[in-house]
């Protein structure tokens, strides 16, 4: 094996690569924010919501958790235009990530909610809190704290999984790597670089989420 690395051939494509990094960050920022919000709502609906809502949410969660991300992406991007819903590749990618993370985080958050003892609900009510206030302050926050590491992992997983959105021509980091590879054929160098960038992004994201956890859940003994 005599392979000489030549990273100089990537130089002229750096703007493409940089743009790809920004798009990946944008995707995960939107995907994680709305995905977790959707997940919390669904977790509430499945654990404590009205009886008619439970089967609907359960159906959504099972549908998403038992189908591949790529197929969901194709369904939204190539399928929905047939019934008149035309999304750009960025909208399609974001929507798919939100829907996907929503279903997974629903189950994670629900585990936290259902691990809350009945006494904790009653404690909230006995203090004169409404049902919503009890859910928000007494149930949800401690639940989130309990499942925060699992939720963080899921968000990182979705960020890494977002690599497939290049299939619908969304110009994320994977697209940039594939694009540069198709131009200069320097597969080894470019995927080496892309791997390093994904690694850095994942570690940074994990640390950010860790920091967010410390900020969200202060004054807790069991950190």
């Amino acid at each position: 094996m005599n392979y000489t690395f030549d990273f100089s051939s990537i130089g002229s494509y750096l703007p493409v690569l940089f743009n790809g990094i920004l798009v990946t960050i944008e995707l995960i920022a939107v995907g994680a924010t709305f995905g977790v919000a959707l997940g919390i709502f669904c977790a509430w609906a499945r654990a404590l919501g009205p009886i008619w809502l439970k089967p609907i949410v359960a159906g959504y969660v099972e549908l998403i958790r038992n189908t591949p991300f790529l197929i969901q992406l194709f369904f939204i991007f190539f399928g929905l235009p047939s019934i008149g819903i035309q999304l750009t590749e960025m909208q399609g990618a974001m929507l798919t990530m939100v829907i996907n993370l929503g279903a997974y985080s629903c189950e994670i958050v629900r585990a936290g909610i259902q691990a809350t003892t009945k006494g904790q609900f009653e404690a909230g009510w006995s203090l004169g809190m409404t049902r919503f206030e009890t859910f928000r302050y007494v149930v949800l926050i401690p639940s989130l704290q309990r499942i925060w590491p699992a939720l963080s992992s899921q968000i990182v997983l979705v960020m890494l999984g977002s690599a497939v959105v290049s299939q619908i021509a969304a110009e994320d980091l994977s697209f940039a790597a594939n694009f540069i590879q198709s131009r200069n054929f320097r597969a080894f160098e470019i995927y080496f670089l892309a791997t390093a960038i994904y690694l850095a992004l994942a570690i940074t994201l994990r640390q950010l989420l860790r920091g967010l956890g410390w900020w969200l859940f202060p004054r807790k003994a069991t950190r």
Binding site: M1, F179, N184
Partner: protein
């Protein structure tokens, strides 16, 4: 530096400085083993696709067999995608890359290209009511291409600045994008467009203009002068005795242009 970091650094250094062994001559290897391994596309009709009985077929496949026959060796076809074809060549899993390969200066730094073996009759296609007659008319339009294909390289070079080029992973993605209306136009081979038309879709791709001066080359590793000479010799002979033209007639339904 703690011990773990030192070990990882050493491992990385060892990996980067992999042993340099003298590489044998590819043509000698082929003649000795009597097997020529050729990478061909599997998702790019008419150059390479999978037929109903799962065997590969197309212009590139016939070309591979032609070269194998002229060299008197058995041909082993290796289906590849546009993403993995170069690594296959570089890691010597194949000796030749016949996969409707276009060339550009960056690519020429990495691998060598033979003489032209095929023309590329590709064009820009779109619905009837969209007025596009030449490349300047693409201004402000959205067009889908297959990433890294000849038409992608060419359009990137010649299309107006405000044309949005969407690059899909493979040919099927490009076609789906056009049929679902995600792009207004699509650049692809005329035979691909004809195949779409044959299925009578609601959006009918019509030829708008041809992307001129595209050609395909056989790719091989650098520093293989004997293999290069052999392949060029076979291409020239096939051109002369009409067998290359027969392949063009079969898959592209036209004669080879005079400049090939």
């Amino acid at each position: 530096m703690n011990r773990r970091m030192l070990i990882s650094a050493l491992a990385l250094a060892a990996f980067a400085a992999a042993p340099l062994t003298a590489s044998a001559d590819a043509l000698d290897d082929v003649m000795k083993s009597k097997v020529l391994k050729v990478a061909v596309p599997q998702d790019f009709p008419p150059f390479g696709s999978v037929s109903a009985d799962m065997s590969p077929k197309g212009y590139d496949v016939d070309m591979a067999n032609l070269i194998g026959k002229a060299m008197g060796v058995k041909v082993e076809l290796v289906p590849v995608t546009s993403a993995n074809r170069i690594p296959y060549l570089q890691t010597k899993k194949v000796e030749l890359l016949i996969s409707s390969l276009g060339k550009n200066p960056d690519r020429e730094k990495v691998i060598d290209f033979s003489n032209v073996y095929a023309p590329f009759f590709n064009g820009v296609f779109g619905p009837k009511d969209l007025a596009v007659a030449k490349v300047e008319d693409l201004a402000g339009k959205t067009i889908g291409v297959t990433r890294g294909a000849v038409e992608d390289l060419k359009l990137t070079e010649i299309a107006p600045k405000d044309t949005t080029i969407k690059r899909y992973e493979d040919n099927n993605g490009t076609i789906s994008a056009f049929l679902s209306g995600q792009v207004q136009l699509v650049a692809t081979g005329n035979v691909v467009a004809a195949a779409i038309l044959a299925r009578n879709p609601p959006k009918k791709p019509e030829i708008k203009f041809l992307i001129a001066n595209s050609a395909c080359y056989v790719g091989m590793n650098k520093d293989e002068p004997k293999l290069m000479a052999k392949v060029n010799e076979i291409i020239a002979a096939a051109r002369k005795d009409g067998s290359l033209n027969a392949i063009a007639q079969k898959w592209l339904a036209q004669d080879l242009p005079a400049d090939i």
